[in-house]
Assembly symmetry: C2
Homo-oligomer: 520 residues x 2
């Protein structure tokens, strides 16, 4: 399976392994995707300007609340905003100007393995696993709370997935660890069990500092960029707005810590349309843009030039039950529009993923995930969180869903590579060789392109009905169950300098011992 294997794959055996090896040859393992197909955009320039104008109106007339963070208010006042209490109102165009003055259009997030470093922004797309679920689900155990063992498992699966470029962050909540010390084990697991780039803790400013300290231990003398004299960006972190139009002290504090250390932040309005924004696409886009601009401006005021990403998480609310829905057309329209707005602003964009409301890895999960991931790729999202594993509106991380999503992410590599118009791609000689009424199966061109011809899914069953029945009449989830177990059994950790490992463990142990456990 293209997701099953990595460089670390050793001694494959049996049928699954053979399939894995074949697929592995076919799937190009790249550190990130650079798209070769055009963006899809729904609104034209005039339409996008309407949204921008409305975001300006919201920021100017209504304003954004920055709660319990007096330093932020000082920064905004100095920058020319009208600050009343905790309400910050921005003169038209000011936030945009602040962002455009110093925020990089694209940047590198460094991995401890330099071959895995990712370029975020521009025509690049980076896939990361799902984030933040308290529960995990598998066919074997059903749904239960996540544990650190699950966390490590998903880090390993993401490491082995050639279609995922990033280790992610809170890949699931390790509920068996105290709330105020979990971040140590999460960050350590990302570093220990993977060499892909990862995300940092945002639940407290001190935890953000811990994340940066641990990154420093990994990169050592290499942490400071010799050319710029600034710290290298080794961590990217998720800063959600308290939508609508509000940021709280926890998130602002974490954003501040990361910005000061030149680490990347993703400023993401978290919008369930109908609750945190109006029930319309255009209204939701205007609120999202206003919040993101305000948050990104804050980051640039804290440390001009610190990498920052415009984020958008939009779901539409079920007007019957009040539950969030996924994979419906409206969030896709928001996604296409926000991506275009981010390009106009000139900053990297984060959105999308393989989102779904389904509790299990059934057809609903797949419809909804595909209807999110494909727009994600066509729109031109640069950093895609929640690519693999997401179930139940983000409440559960699914083992089977993870490998199914990784397969879909593999397909997106092929899609984004576009159409080969080389002579070999045009294949006129093949048509000349075969001619009317014959078949191309054995022709020279087919033989030459056999291996790389088409994307090969490790999970799709394309066999005859009879063969499928003989194989046990399994559905895709049942096949996925075998695949993730096989992958975990075959996992081999990437090498880590024992001195670094010791330093990380030493830091964790000292810090953990320095304050009592707490679950608040």
């Amino acid at each position: 399976m293209s997701q099953a294997t990595a460089t670390a794959h050793r001694r494959p055996s049996g049928r699954d392994a053979k399939r894995a090896a074949r697929a592995s040859r076919a799937a190009a393992s790249v550190p990130f995707i650079t798209r070769k197909i055009p963006y899809y955009q729904v609104l034209d320039k005039e339409g996008l300007q309407t949204i921008e104008r409305n975001a300006d109106t919201i920021m100017e007339e209504i304003g954004i609340d920055f709660r319990e963070e007096p330093d932020a208010l000082v920064l905004f006042r100095q920058a020319g905003c009208d600050v009343q209490g905790e309400r910050v109102r921005f003169p038209r165009g000011l936030a945009r100007a602040i962002v455009q003055r110093s925020a990089p259009a694209e940047f590198t997030q460094h991995a401890r393995n330099p071959a895995r470093s990712v370029r975020i922004g521009g025509k690049n797309t980076v896939f990361a696993p799902a984030y933040g679920s308290p529960f995990v689900r598998s066919l074997d155990e059903g749904r239960r709370y996540g544990r650190i063992e699950d966390f490590r498992n998903f880090v390993k699966l993401a490491y082995m997935a050639t279609s995922l470029h990033h280790s992610g962050g809170t890949i699931c909540e390790p509920v068996d660890l105290p709330v105020n010390k979990r971040h140590f084990d999460m960050v350590y697991s990302h570093i220990k069990y993977s060499d892909k780039p990862f995300m940092g803790s945002v639940t407290h400013p001190q935890r953000a500092r811990d994340t940066v300290e641990m990154a420093k231990l990994v990169f050592g003398n290499d942490f400071i960029d010799a050319e710029t004299g600034r710290p290298k960006t080794a961590v990217i972190s998720l800063i959600n707005a308290n939508s609508p139009l509000t940021f709280d002290a926890t998130m602002l504090g974490a954003a501040r810590e990361y910005a000061l250390a030149n680490q990347a932040t993703i400023i993401t309005p978290f919008i369930l349309a109908g609750a945190m924004s109006p029930v319309t696409v255009a209204g939701t886009c205007a609120v999202t843009l206003a919040e993101a601009l305000a948050g990104m401006a804050y980051v640039q005021l804290v440390n001009p030039g610190a990498p920052v990403v415009l984020g958008s998480f939009a779901s539409s609310l079920s007007m019957q039950s009040g539950a969030p829905t996924f994979g419906t057309p409206e969030p896709a329209l928001v996604l296409y529009t926000m991506a275009a707005l981010a390009r106009r602003l000139g900053v990297p964009f984060r959105s999308g993923g393989s989102l779904c409301a389904s509790k299990i890895a059934d057809a609903q999960a797949a419809f909804e995930s595909a209807n999110t991931l494909l727009p994600t790729c066509l729109a031109g999202v640069n950093f895609v969180l929640h690519v693999a594993g997401w179930l139940e509106g983000g409440l559960a991380m699914g083992y089977e869903k993870f490998v199914m999503d990784a397969d879909q992410a593999g397909m997106m590599h092929t899609l984004l590579a576009g159409i080969d118009l080389s002579e070999n791609g045009q294949a006129l000689d093949a048509v000349r060789e075969v001619g009317p009424g014959k078949h191309f199966l054995g022709c020279a061109h087919t033989q030459a392109n056999f291996e790389s011809a088409f994307y090969r899914s490790p999970l799709a069953d394309n066999n005859s009905f009879e063969q499928w029945e003989a194989d046990g009449a399994l559905d895709m989830a049942a096949r996925a169950n075998k695949v993730w177990k096989h992958q975990l059994a075959e996992y081999v950790a990437p090498p880590l300098d024992p001195a670094v490992d010791e330093a990380l463990q030493d830091y964790m142990n000292r810090r953990k011992a320095s304050f009592p456990d707490s679950n608040v």
Copy 2:
């Protein structure tokens, strides 16, 4: 369920029915879709010209075989082609010129209920059910051969689906009827149990004539267009090429009958890339275009001005098993490209659908179907066959899959309607009313837009995990099982003039009695 109800819905009762009624209000029932969003195109003008040039080279150098149809060879020779045996070689640009001289850019296919007539071409999209499967599948009975009762059931389900605009054709094979007389019952069922437009028989020229005769009985004096003096287009039919680069007498004979009667044909190269075309996207597009141009030119030579549609059915072959695969990236790239080529040619385009290789309505089916239907809509397909029910590479028609696909088709209506930029759509007043930190649930704008705010899926479960468990922890297929049964139970036939009904039955009975049953 938006697909569950239609004008004929009577006395809804119980929970399902209430959901149905709610969804019905939300879903706009339109005879066809007129898109308000841009097309997505992968290749630029230069790339498309490369494909066109290669198609011309194929037609000029290699040529197309027209088998056992001497009349076709005469027509092509008269038009200026080089005819050697059954091989027809086209001077560069000739087929294009023939098509562009007389083929309509768009046309109306008339339904017996004028409110259901569809406009095929331009910015319009028409959704039709799957076509041609010998088997049917349901959760209750598993997989078995299709019967005329199944055929009628699917005609009824398509009639009740507000997201489907067309009754389709060989919606499943009624294997319990003799091969040489099935077409009577199929055409009659489309007319009797639905008032949406339908497709005709193509398995023999005489069966095409029967189809046209039955359409004449339905339209009566109204069959001839008073303005043009030509027959109205009341039937559209699927003419597949015998790819690569070959047309056979059966298909050419049916195409000829329909063209002479001014009925529409869809000329569709049926390509499993790697077998009937090279293993590349660009090569597959060139072969598809060459075949389609040749077939469409034939139709225009038979009867200039007869409606004709450029069709493309492309799947990529599994290079391991030789089985067709669906929902992979390569066919989507073909789809985007062929749609753009059809627009450049100036003819309506048929492709896509909800294709999958999965045997059951599981996650594989959904991933693959979504990865076909969304590109179908973004590319700008005008006539979409196989929108609902398709399983197992077209070998089986699924009851549960049918209503699941119809739900997805409903979402596409919302997507293609684009983004409302009216003042109400921009919703600035809602943001002014609510402000930071509050929610939009009860605000005036939300109240006013409550009913139509978001697409409502009748099949997705967006409830809490606990509620879903209390409801039986059903997957989407199990929910779909309830829905199609409910729909069939609630079905009421559209009115049909008893005199027309009698005339149709009389025609069928006379014709059936005039020759012996045969299963070849």
